[in-house]
């Protein structure tokens, strides 16, 4: 198959899926008698500078979440537990940073390591259960999500303090606060300093998957476990390591916002990002660049959705629904393309073989 097709088909699939999802959303809005024109106008308005900042920050956060899910997907592992991993990691990182054991930014770096370690350990439980007892990681990570929720509630009571109705960890010392990259002179906030973690993770992910022995083994084992085993890859080790890596990246999800804005773990900590990350990874085909694209689309849609209620009187949940439809139609489109590509390739090989055979007989005829 030509290079053009290999690149063009997935892009076409994504575009097709986006268009299809848009059509479905339009039909739903027509059915409920909502303001369709207003919906599209809001969606395609160029965001204000303030909103652009939010979109950039959300893209970085969703990128981390998507990368965490994608590392698992590459090994055919469904880390549904990103949600629990990053929340637990956020709590530990927040509680650790609040202690102020280390001065200034050293404290931040240590807290980031704590977050990665907690995320990795929580995911590692599922990895170990998988290789040691054959427990499906899907079900164990779902259980671990629920357990993490209760554990966080318990630990917040133990370590945290009450402010009004909410419980939070203590404020971290001010020299451990990270600031913003000012993007626009008129907007006081900017991109979180730690949103730089997203491109760093992206580059590391890219190098790891495409330029290391581990990455090669990972791709091999993900593509065909039996082939990988027969060429000497320890699948058990790969499963545990990918789960640990996935969890470590998941641990970072809550970090950028917490250190730049909230300065504590608690009610301001955004939940639900883990599940969105799964969708983002699927949209980006688990590729470091693709995930960035997926994260941007979801961040953009999420931000525009906030305006729907005010400007068009449409419930922003229509965008959440559309996001789900995008994911489903993208994976269906990819699957259709995969089948199509296989068929095209088969036909090409068949014609080539035919041509060779005819050439052979012609040669034989000539020699005889």
């Amino acid at each position: 198959m030509s290079r053009w097709m290999r690149l063009g088909l997935p892009v076409a699939a994504v575009v097709l899926a986006l268009v299809f999802s848009g059509v479905v959303a339009t039909l739903v809005l027509l059915f409920t008698g909502d303001d369709v024109v207003g919906f599209w106008r809001v969606l395609f308005t160029w965001p204000s500078e303030r909103d652009l900042v939010d979109i950039i920050n959300m893209t970085a956060i969703l990128y981390l979440s998507g990368a965490a899910a994608a590392i698992g997907f590459r090994m055919n592992l469904f880390n549904i537990g990103v949600e629990g991993q990053y929340r637990l990691a956020g709590l530990f990182a927040g509680a650790f940073a609040a202690q102020g054991l280390l001065p200034g930014k050293l404290n931040v770096a240590a807290a980031i390591l704590v977050a990665m370690a907690v995320g990795a350990l929580w995911a590692g439980i599922a990895g170990v259960l998988r290789v040691w007892r054959g427990v499906s990681e899907v079900i164990s990570t779902i259980m671990l999500n629920a357990i993490a929720g209760s554990l966080i509630g318990f630990l917040l009571v133990k370590w945290g303090e009450s402010t009004g109705n909410a419980r939070n960890t203590k404020m971290m010392p001010e020299d451990s606060w990270t600031g913003f990259f000012r993007l626009f002179p008129d907007v006081s906030d900017g991109a979180y300093h730690l949103s730089l973690l997203a491109p760093l993770v992206g580059i590391a992910f890219f190098i790891l998957v495409y330029y290391t022995r581990f990455g090669f083994d990972l791709r091999a084992a993900g593509a065909s476990e039996s082939a990988a085993v027969s060429s000497g890859v320890s699948v058990k080790k790969m499963i545990v390591v990918s789960m640990l890596l996935s969890g470590a990246v998941a641990g970072l999800i809550g970090v950028p916002m917490m250190f730049s804005e909230a300065h504590q773990y608690g009610s301001a900590f955004q939940t639900g990002l883990g599940f969105t990350g799964i969708a983002v990874a699927l949209l980006g085909r688990n590729h470091p660049m693709g995930i960035a694209f997926g994260a941007l689309i979801f961040a953009f849609l999420g931000q525009q959705a906030n305006l729907l209620n005010i400007l068009a009187g449409v419930s922003p949940d229509i965008v959440n629904m559309t996001q789900g439809i995008i994911v489903l139609s993208v994976v269906i489109a990819f699957e259709v393309i995969r089948r199509l590509a296989t068929r095209i390739e088969q036909r090409q090989v068949a014609t080539q073989l035919d041509a060779e055979r005819q050439g052979d007989t012609a040669l034989k005829g000539a020699s005889a």
Partner: protein, 422 residues
């Protein structure tokens, strides 16, 4: 696999029948022994709420939605389709109950919930069966779609209605309940005596004679029906053969795609029914976020129950009970008493393992049992978060320790393409 898969009734050799009877008897025995232990703990600790009629009723109410989701999972996984989308189908069900229940009455509400759940199942089926999308991926997407759709539709249709709002439906008419008044008073007086087992059993019976929702009976009947259809009819055997060995099934003339579609649509309908129960019986209307992950818990209960209806029912009961207990009055006392129950259970397991001459298991059981006993004796309060955590930890432990005994359908979660039989 032998030839008569598609053509004859289930194999009923004497030994397999005996095994099956044994299994049913085992489950009943486990349930009775468990209940007796609970009663014993109540007598020792004086935590009357452990087995009061009110607690059992609350436990039943929180078990049924989990059980329905689990039953949905059972149907689809028996046909080889993993269904993470149960949660989403349940969400659609809660909305369906809210919308149709408010406008057209409770029966329409129940039917609407089932139909909306079925639509979710249909979507999952089309994606996984015809397009060969990974089952988990499709399920995750359906959960996102359903959550968004229910939120959107609720805001569109319930805003401005009296008692309704963007995140909740107006109060729904309560579905029918059954009362057997003449039995309730004598049973109540027995329960008040606080006798060992007898009073607890009277409390249990009271739940079934006092305001028992018809929907509860229907849901429990569906368990019997499911068992009968899946394990006693040709249709069921063919459906299960699609989950075990689809290529063999197809070679014998079973239309694998059709059976998988039927199974996953039924699965959606059952989850939707669970949603209806949640919106109409367990509370008085639809609310956004009402399912609270019960679809996932149902899936866990099904695995806990080894992909069988009886075990699933037991698992749902366990989840439902631990969900309901912290919300009852005197919750701290009851939850603390549960520590003693866990200690006794672990010590019993230790004794059993000793009898089986598994020294290692016996020792570890005894150590953990003793630890729980010490915990019970040395404290007065257990943080309620631990109780919430308990069913999940239990499930993880069961999976980790008994995963060798669990057997999921052989082709569960695998994408099957028509014509693979060659």
């Amino acid at each position: 696999m032998s030839a008569p898969v598609a053509s004859t009734a289930p194999v009923t050799t004497p030994s397999s029948q005996w095994q099956r009877r044994l299994r049913v008897r085992n489950l009943t025995l486990i349930a009775i022994v468990g209940f007796a232990l609970l009663s014993l703990v109540r007598v020792i600790t004086g935590a009357q709420e452990l087995t009061s009629a009110g607690t059992i009723q609350a436990a039943l109410t929180s078990s049924i939605p989990i059980a329905m989701a689990g039953l949905g999972g059972l149907w689809s996984e028996r046909a080889g389709i993993v269904n993470i989308g149960l949660e989403g189908m349940m969400i659609l069900g809660t909305f369906g109950a809210g919308y149709f229940g408010y406008h057209y009455g409770s029966i329409a509400g129940i039917l609407g919930a089932i139909v909306l759940g079925m639509i979710g199942g249909l979507l999952h089926g089309i994606a996984t069966v015809y397009f060969g999308v990974d089952h988990i991926v499709s399920g995750v997407a359906i959960n996102i779609i359903a959550l968004g759709a229910a939120g959107f539709l609720a805001e569109t249709y319930f805003t401005g209605l009296e008692g309704g709002g963007p995140t909740q439906s107006p109060p729904l008419p309560a579905p029918m309940t059954i009362n057997v008044d003449f039995l309730d008073n004598p049973l109540a007086s027995i329960e008040a005596k606080q006798w060992f087992f007898v009073s607890d059993f009277a409390g249990l019976l009271r739940v079934f004679v006092n305001d028992l929702p018809v929907l509860t009976i229907l849901c429990l009947a569906l368990f019997v029906l499911t068992f009968w259809v899946l394990w006693r009819t040709k249709f069921g055997l063919r459906l299960r053969s699609c989950g075990e060995e689809p290529a063999a099934a197809e070679s014998l003339g079973v239309n694998v795609y059709n059976y998988k579609m039927i199974a996953v649509v039924i699965s959606g309908g059952l989850s939707g029914l669970g949603g209806a129960f949640l919106a109409m019986v367990a509370s008085s209307g639809f609310q956004v976020g009402q399912t609270g992950g019960r679809g996932y818990i149902g899936l866990a209960a099904m695995i806990f129950g080894n992909w069988r209806p009886g075990g699933l029912l037991l698992g749902s009961g366990l989840f439902g009970y631990t969900q309901a207990l912290p919300l009852r009055r005197e919750a701290t006392v009851s939850i603390h008493a549960l520590l003693l129950l866990v200690a006794i259970l672990l010590l019993l397991v230790a004794a059993y393992q000793l009898w089986r001459k598994n020294t290692l298991q016996a020792v570890s059981g005894a150590v953990f049992g003793a630890a729980f006993l010490v915990w019970y004796l040395s404290t007065d309060v257990v943080p309620s978060d631990f109780t919430k955590m308990a069913p999940y930890v239990t499930t993880l432990l069961v999976l980790a320790l008994a995963s060798q005994r669990l057997r999921m359908p052989k082709a569960d979660g695998l994408v099957y393409r028509r014509g693979s039989a060659g």
